[in-house]
């Protein structure tokens, strides 16, 4: 579990987060929402230990994150950035990189690592993509491979920065369904999302940021009822009750 307590973080000469307190809990999808530049990605980077913090604290499984080595953090929290290079390697090789935090001398991947990779590829339904080069895959297929890499990393928390950006609607739904499954199986899944309707439909909990501060954290219904989204994001949402749960739409 990851806990942010009164977190302040940012970049040299540009503080971004201002006293954010939030928990990433196992078994739930937490959607981080907010307008551009409000600190969503900064929050994720800081929580993954990739950004020095200027105040407050981050607790990883109850201990300050500074007490862990980078490898130990990587064994507990997987981070998938919004954009990244696409090297000309096979999908299997990409997923295998998720085992790097567990490599010991002489830094060669063993049978257990390869078994984990096969399991991860199977879990996301991408076994048939294993031997294809990444540049050949579609955006949605690549996102599956990155998710498989996070699974191979075997971390209890998976932090994803805008995983549905640039994907078509069916791929977005597939990625959200996979994220939901990951949470149901006991992982803490945190996603920065721009599609409010998708976020409210799939997340167990939401956190709304504005100008580096946490405006509200609660269930999608609590967020919807509070009308905070309309104040912060400037859009009006509607809700429809269905058998599968509430669905949201832009008015």
């Amino acid at each position: 579990m990851i806990e942010l307590r009164d977190l302040r973080a940012g970049y040299p000469g540009r503080p971004v987060l201002d006293g954010v307190t939030l928990s990433f809990l196992p078994g739930e999808v937490l959607a981080i929402l907010g307008p551009n530049g409000c600190g969503k990605s900064t929050l994720l980077r800081a929580a993954a230990g990739l950004l020095p913090i200027s105040g407050g604290e981050i607790l990883l499984d109850g201990a300050p994150i500074g007490a862990y080595t980078p490898r130990q953090i990587a064994q507990r929290a997987a981070y998938l950035p919004q954009s990244r290079p696409v090297p000309s390697i096979t999908a299997r090789r990409m997923v295998l990189h998720g085992r790097f935090p567990y490599l010991s001398y002489p830094r060669r991947y063993g049978r257990e690592d390869h078994e984990m990779v096969d399991q991860a590829l199977g879990w996301v339904g991408a076994r048939e993509l294993a031997d294809r080069p990444l540049p050949q895959l579609s955006g949605g297929q690549r996102q599956k491979i990155y998710l498989a890499m996070a699974l191979a990393q075997d971390a209890a928390a998976i932090l994803m920065d805008e995983p549905t950006t640039y994907l078509d609607v069916s791929c977005q739904l597939e990625v959200m369904a996979l994220a939901h499954r990951l949470a149901v199986e006991g992982r803490a899944v945190v996603m920065v999302l721009h599609d409010l309707c998708l976020a409210l439909q799939y997340a167990h909990r939401t956190a709304l940021l504005q100008a580096g501060r946490l405006v509200l954290a609660g269930t999608p219904d609590e967020l919807y009822q509070s009308r905070a989204l309309e104040r912060v994001m400037g859009v009006e949402l509607g809700q429809i009750k269905t058998e599968g749960g509430p669905r949201y739409y832009y008015r």
Binding site: R71, S88, P101, R107, Q136, Y146
Partner: protein, 339 residues
């Protein structure tokens, strides 16, 4: 940070076949290099000379003229091509090669200073060249960090650094005209007038650096995924980049210390190999080292045979082959591909 488009549009092939093929071609080119030249020597006599059982003249030619030259090609080719793989990977820039970003020129300036200050020290030259190459690569790293690693900025900065280092070499030679005997050869790059004794320090530096780079290939693989992903997988990115660039500097510096400012091999070879086997760093380093050795050996053979008995400088042949490829690369290069 942008990544370049690699051309792999079909499943990546296993690299073992390519390693064996390159190895076999290098052995053949090496034998041809020992046998052919101003005086052709039959293969049987080449082998006899290598075993110390040949005629006096053939033994002299093979052991003291052609063998050091062949070893120079093998060492410089493998070192510069591997340095190219490392630098391109670490800086995430396809145009970053030792000769493009000022690493070779930095090594050349330090080598010139060393030759001017201690003309009789053979051992010091590769060490000085390493220091110069390291200074060049660190300056480029500093600029890439400060300027946001823009591909064009990096190359332009490299061109500026190369010009400054080259001006430094000219200045040293103005005051110490004898510092680099055969300065023109040094500037163009070549493997003439080498001895096994002169190659020995460079051999050890190149061998150890190459082995170290191969052992760090899994870290180089992670750097290819981007800084944030590499960091999130537990890689200490800053230290790893420094370590790998130091190895690249050692490789390039050792090569420049005896072969001069050879261009293109560090740019050309990694690109060809990347197209053939993808970007897995271990096979890419191995194949590039073999490919660089093969390329220089073949170019040296052509340099000696094309207008025999006249001999073209190796750097000229390499540039005539590498220049068009480089231009093709520039014309073909399009926007980076990211998710």
């Amino acid at each position: 940070m942008k990544r370049w488009r690699t051309s792999c549009t079909r499943p990546l092939k296993r690299p073992l076949g390519l390693v064996l093929c390159l190895g076999a071609l290098t052995v053949l080119a090496g034998l041809a290099s020992l046998a052919l030249g101003a005086a052709d020597i039959p293969p049987g006599e080449v082998l006899a000379a290598l075993l110390g059982r040949g005629g006096a003249v053939q033994t002299q030619i093979v052991l003291y003229a052609r063998l050091p030259r062949l070893c120079g090609c093998l060492l410089a080719g493998s070192a510069l091509a591997s340095a190219g793989v490392i630098i391109q990977g670490v800086l995430a820039n396809p145009l970053a090669a030792p000769n493009v970003i000022g690493v070779n020129a930095g090594a050349g300036l330090a080598a010139a200073l060393c030759c001017a200050a201690a003309p009789s020290s053979v051992l010091l030259t590769p060490i000085a060249a390493f220091a110069g190459a390291l200074a060049g690569v660190l300056l480029v790293l500093f600029i890439s960090e400060r300027a946001g690693a823009s591909r064009i900025t990096l190359v332009l900065a490299g061109v500026a650094l190369s010009s400054m280092f080259s001006a430094g070499i000219d200045a040293v030679l103005t005051f110490f005209p004898d510092a680099l005997s055969g300065y023109t050869d040094f500037r163009i790059g070549g493997v003439k007038n080498l001895s096994m004794a002169r190659l020995a320090p460079a051999f050890w530096i190149i061998l150890l650096s190459l082995l170290a780079a191969l052992s760090l290939s899994s870290r180089l693989d992670l750097l290819l995924l981007g800084r944030e992903t590499a960091q999130s997988l537990g890689l200490p990115v800053g230290g790893t980049r420094m370590l790998l660039l130091s190895l690249a500097a050692a490789l390039a510096g050792a090569a420049v210390s005896f072969a001069g400012l050879l261009g293109f091999v560090g740019l050309l070879t990694p690109h060809i190999m990347r197209r053939l086997i993808g970007e897995d760093s271990f096979p890419l380093l191995l194949c590039s080292a073999l490919g660089g050795a093969l390329l220089l050996t073949v170019c040296d053979l052509l340099a000696r045979l094309l207008f025999a008995p006249f001999e073209l400088p190796l750097g000229v042949v390499l540039s005539l082959a590498g220049g068009p490829f480089f231009l093709w690369l520039l014309l073909r290069q399009r926007g980076g591909r990211r998710t």
